[in-house]
């Protein structure tokens, strides 16, 4: 009987130690990241090349690390769109790329080419909308995107020309470098003024953005 108590006590102690150390570690990482956001205006959260939207009256930067071929990014996109739509005056939304899939770079090039025509968001919309078709796991067909993109209202001739000349390598490399510095491995990952989004729910994103706006 005495032995059992010792065993259970030791198990509890180990678990408790784990939770305490984990919490402590997480807090120190969070503080370090927030400090980065306070001390640096730009990197690792924003770079000059990054697509960014919003008037940013309240100096609230929402950074999303995204991958056009990532299903979770596509699934969560309506949420970030809604939140940003409500607060586009107060905040700034910045997209960073983590090209983790085989055709991510292809899609990023299309996005960047479309950005030259000021059709970035429309294009992102189409890319996500038709993701189940062009980015099937067993049979990806990125070329299909060309047939969907006219729906974004793009000048297709110009898009094709820009697609040929545009070079996104440096951009992707810098975005990757910043992601590594922040410890971002997956997409989507959101930061609001350096504070990471922990739960991927609409409420959590609203709460985080509003806590920064009304602080």
């Amino acid at each position: 009987m005495k032995n059992k108590k010792i065993v259970l006590f030791a198990s509890g102690l180990l678990l408790l130690a784990f939770i305490i150390v984990a919490n402590f570690y997480q807090k120190s990482i969070d503080t370090k990241t927030e400090q980065l956001a306070i001390n640096n205006e730009g990197a690792p959260f924003v770079r000059e090349h990054s697509p960014s939207f919003g008037e940013n009256k309240n100096k609230v930067t929402i950074t999303e690390f995204l991958d056009p071929e990532c299903e979770s990014c596509s699934a969560f996109h309506p949420v970030i769109k809604e939140v940003f739509n409500d607060y586009k005056v107060e905040t700034k939304l910045v997209y960073r790329y983590l090209a983790n899939h085989n055709n991510s770079k292809f899609a990023v090039k299309l996005l960047e080419a479309a950005r030259l025509q000021n059709k970035y968001n429309e294009t992102l919309e189409i890319i996500f909308k038709y993701q189940p078709q062009w980015a099937q796991h067993h049979n990806p067909m990125p070329e299909l995107l060309w047939t969907f993109l006219p729906q974004a209202g793009l000048d297709m001739a110009k898009l094709r020309a820009d697609f040929e000349t545009i070079n996104v390598d440096t951009m992707l490399q810098l975005d990757r470098q910043d992601a590594i510095q922040l410890g971002v491995t997956g997409t989507p990952t959101f930061y609001v003024n350096g504070k990471i989004l922990k739960d991927y729910t609409k409420k959590a994103l609203y709460d985080l953005v509003e806590s920064e706006i009304y602080k």
Partner: protein, 139 residues
């Protein structure tokens, strides 16, 4: 007879602690520090995690059969960890193991004092449990 039993309970308890620390430690690396486990690491986890429960159940409801269950898992895990350490120390070239999870198994996430890596910690844990169990069997 009585004496032997008390010793082995102590040893099983020690084994339980080692397995628990190894389990929680590996979870800390992957879940809290976000290190992505390579495939070799997964195999070692597969054989380490159940040990915690095997030892725990034996401690709560003692019998003398724990050796044969535990040693099976420990031996397989130990072989994986030896192999993994040979990879880390460049004794076996990486190309022999195709790592499907995208992380090469020779990636060094931590390196304390020049030789303590995660696979090394795993090896130490398996080795200690192995020696403890075998030392009991010899009695």
């Amino acid at each position: 007879m009585e004496l032997k039993k008390t010793i082995s309970t102590g040893v099983i308890f020690l084994c339980f602690l080692i397995a628990s620390i190894a389990t929680l430690g590996s979870l800390f690396f992957s879940e809290i520090m976000n290190f992505i486990p390579c495939s070799m690491c997964w195999y070692q986890r597969i054989f380490m995690y159940p040990l915690v429960l095997i030892f725990l159940v034996n401690l709560l409801y003692p019998d003398d059969k724990v050796f044969k269950y535990a040693i099976t898992l420990v031996t397989v895990g130990l072989l994986f960890s030896i192999y993994h350490n040979l990879l880390m120390f460049d004794i076996i070239p990486e190309s022999i193991v195709p790592c499907v999870s995208g992380v090469p198994c020779s990636t060094e996430y931590i390196n304390w004092f020049g030789f303590i890596t995660i696979p090394f910690l795993s090896f130490i844990a398996y080795f200690m449990i192995f020696i403890l169990l075998v030392s009991q069997k010899g009695k």
